[in-house]
């Protein structure tokens, strides 16, 4: 018996070996090095020099850092709640016993399949201020509603500091399909007996939604909100392509864009690592806050 156990131990470690190596080389080492570099001045060509908390102190006084942090918070705080409401709404509509559910689900999901680069190219074209579909549509609409005596002309979405972030938020709403599918799966797990029981008690549809459906899917909502926050905080590819250098006027210069430029363009590796760790702490705090705030509101049927 003992021999078998030790044989199993050897097999276990051997099977886990790829990950034990991968974890050490591609995770443990970079994490430790990143902590160390964040306390160093390090510009690739010269070996890192320990400077204490200088990078972190400098970040506090860095206007571009503050700007990128503000842009990122703005994006997260607006896009996450909006897309949560919209994706839950879509999932609720799809969950109604209707014909063609699979078709509608596919239609709403398709945009989420579009790779980030293609997404950026596509919306550069749709948002184009003169020939873009969106502004042509707005113009046409204003022509039809002639009772309004003013003329709506679409804003220059991509070159106006007021509209550049909303444009990105709009795109985020268009690509919420993953969350929608997860909500739909959650809705299909809501016990039918509960809904029937509340029907018998004469509950209105809105009361059913508020007191039965939403509480039952609350763990799924919490999960999706946390994942969406983490994802939105790291927005990179789409603004990188659509708004080179965060134009106009750095209104779309986001956290990871600045971090990327700091490392790859300016070669300030230590500074970039410090930014990475501040980001880690911010994400960690956001996650803890959502768990804390939701503590009393999330219902786990498992107990």
């Amino acid at each position: 018996m003992k021999a078998r156990r030790s044989k199993e131990s050897i097999a276990g470690v051997l099977f886990a070996l790829p990950w034990l190596i991968g974890f050490t080389v591609f995770m443990l080492y970079p994490v430790c090095a990143s902590i160390y570099y964040s306390f160093c001045e390090y510009s690739v060509l010269k070996p890192p020099i320990y400077v204490g908390f200088e990078n972190y102190v400098d970040l506090f006084h860095d206007d571009i850092f503050r700007k990128s942090l503000w842009n990122t918070f703005f994006y997260v705080i607006i896009s996450v709640p909006l897309s949560t409401i919209i994706t839950i709404g879509l999932a609720l509509l799809l969950n109604a016993k209707i014909r063609g559910q699979a078709f509608y689900r596919t239609f709403f999901y398709l945009p989420s399949l579009v790779p980030q680069t293609a997404l950026a190219c596509l919306w550069l074209w749709v948002f184009n201020s003169e020939h873009g579909l969106l502004n042509m549509g707005l113009e046409k609409l204003s022509g039809h509603f002639w009772i309004f005596h003013w003329h709506i002309s679409g804003p220059p979405w991509l070159s106006d500091t007021t509209w550049s972030k909303p444009a990105l938020i709009f795109m985020a709403l268009w690509t919420g399909g993953n969350a929608m599918v997860i909500y739909l799966a959650g809705l299909q797990d809501v016990p039918v007996e509960l809904l029937e029981a509340s029907d018998l008690d004469g509950a209105s549809p809105s009361a059913k939604l508020r007191h039965v459906t939403i509480p039952m899917i609350s763990p799924v909502i919490l999960f999706n909100v946390i994942m969406a926050m983490i994802g939105a905080f790291q927005i990179f590819a789409v603004p990188y392509i659509m708004f080179p250098n965060g134009q106009p006027a750095q209104s779309t210069y986001f956290y990871v864009m600045y971090l990327f430029d700091t490392a790859i363009v300016y070669h300030k590796m230590g500074y970039a690592c410090a930014m990475g760790w501040i980001m880690f702490i911010l994400i960690f705090v956001m996650t803890l806050l959502s768990l804390k705030v939701s503590e009393k509101r999330v219902y786990y049927s498992g107990g």
Partner: protein, 276 residues
């Protein structure tokens, strides 16, 4: 009921319009692409736009070899998917079915690594690959895939645990080695989970932008996703039809794959959501 259908139809139109517009633009002659009011169905379908996008060649931009980008991307995807499926299933088997000292701690640490965002480790990883002389090659993009990743390990482990252990016990009594049990008993039963892992790692590789941006320097070695960005930065604003054709080329394989594997897709997403 009718109202719900009406809302769903209107929403479907809103969701699909940009994609339809992309395809419509990609089939237009340049001169009518920017016409007001918009022309939805071009008078002539300019299919050659696709060929032009593939072999874009102008004096201003030089040659943008989209076919080469396509080949690069497919090769990279094959290497990553193979590595992901093989390494993660082996490791997940160890965590799910074998007992070894330190296993549970190792698993907890594995889960914790999911909390680390990529930008935190970006600089040291880049340094590591530079010291290895791998920058400018595909290696930084596919070698790590052969050493497991926390999320996939977790997903497969959960799945392996649902396979009755009596099956492997019986095989063990028959004198099978642990490797044989893994390969002949457990793996065949885990096909759906393996397919989900393969599908999502394929998508992630196809869509990856920051990875190639960091490591691929030579224009000939770009991936499609990166090539499209390059294309856009060169041709953006000058030829919308060609840019939309190029975008369609990048999107189409994913959409086709989706239609063939729809059930798997939906299950996979739901599965990844349930872990919360």
């Amino acid at each position: 009921m009718f109202l719900i259908h009406l809302v769903l139809v209107v929403l479907s139109i809103i969701f699909l319009t940009p994609l339809v517009w992309m395809i419509s633009t990609s089939l237009k002659e340049e001169s009518i692409a920017a016409k007001t009011p918009p022309i939805w169905i071009p008078p002539h379908f300019e299919w050659h736009n696709y060929w032009d996008a593939f072999t874009y060649n102008s004096q201003k931009l030089g040659y943008i070899p989209f076919l080469v980008y396509g080949r690069n991307t497919i090769l990279l995807c094959i290497l990553v998917v193979a590595g992901t499926v093989i390494s993660n299933s082996v490791v997940a088997y160890s965590f799910a079915r074998l007992k070894w000292p330190g296993r549970d701690i190792a698993f907890a640490v594995t889960l914790a690594t999911m909390m680390v965002p990529f930008p935190v480790v970006m600089v040291p990883l880049f340094g590591l690959f530079r010291d290895l002389g791998w920058v400018g090659t595909y290696r930084p993009l596919w070698v790590p895939a052969w050493f497991g990743a926390a999320f996939n390990i977790f997903l497969l482990r959960q799945f392996f645990r649902t396979i009755p252990s009596e099956l492997s016990e019986a095989a063990r009594i028959d004198g099978c080695s642990e490797w044989q049990i893994f390969k002949d008993v457990v793996l065949p039963l885990a096909k759906p989970a393996l397919a989900v892992v393969a599908l999502f790692s394929f998508l992630a590789t196809w869509n990856d932008f920051i990875g190639p941006l960091l490591y691929l320097l030579n224009q000939q070695s770009f991936t499609l996703s990166q090539g499209l960005q390059f294309y856009q930065s060169q041709a953006g604003g000058t030829s919308w039809s060609l840019l939309m054709a190029a975008s369609t080329i990048v999107i189409a394989p994913i959409i086709i794959l989706f239609f063939f594997t729809q059930r798997l897709f939906i299950q996979g997403i739901a599965l990844s959501g349930i872990k919360g």
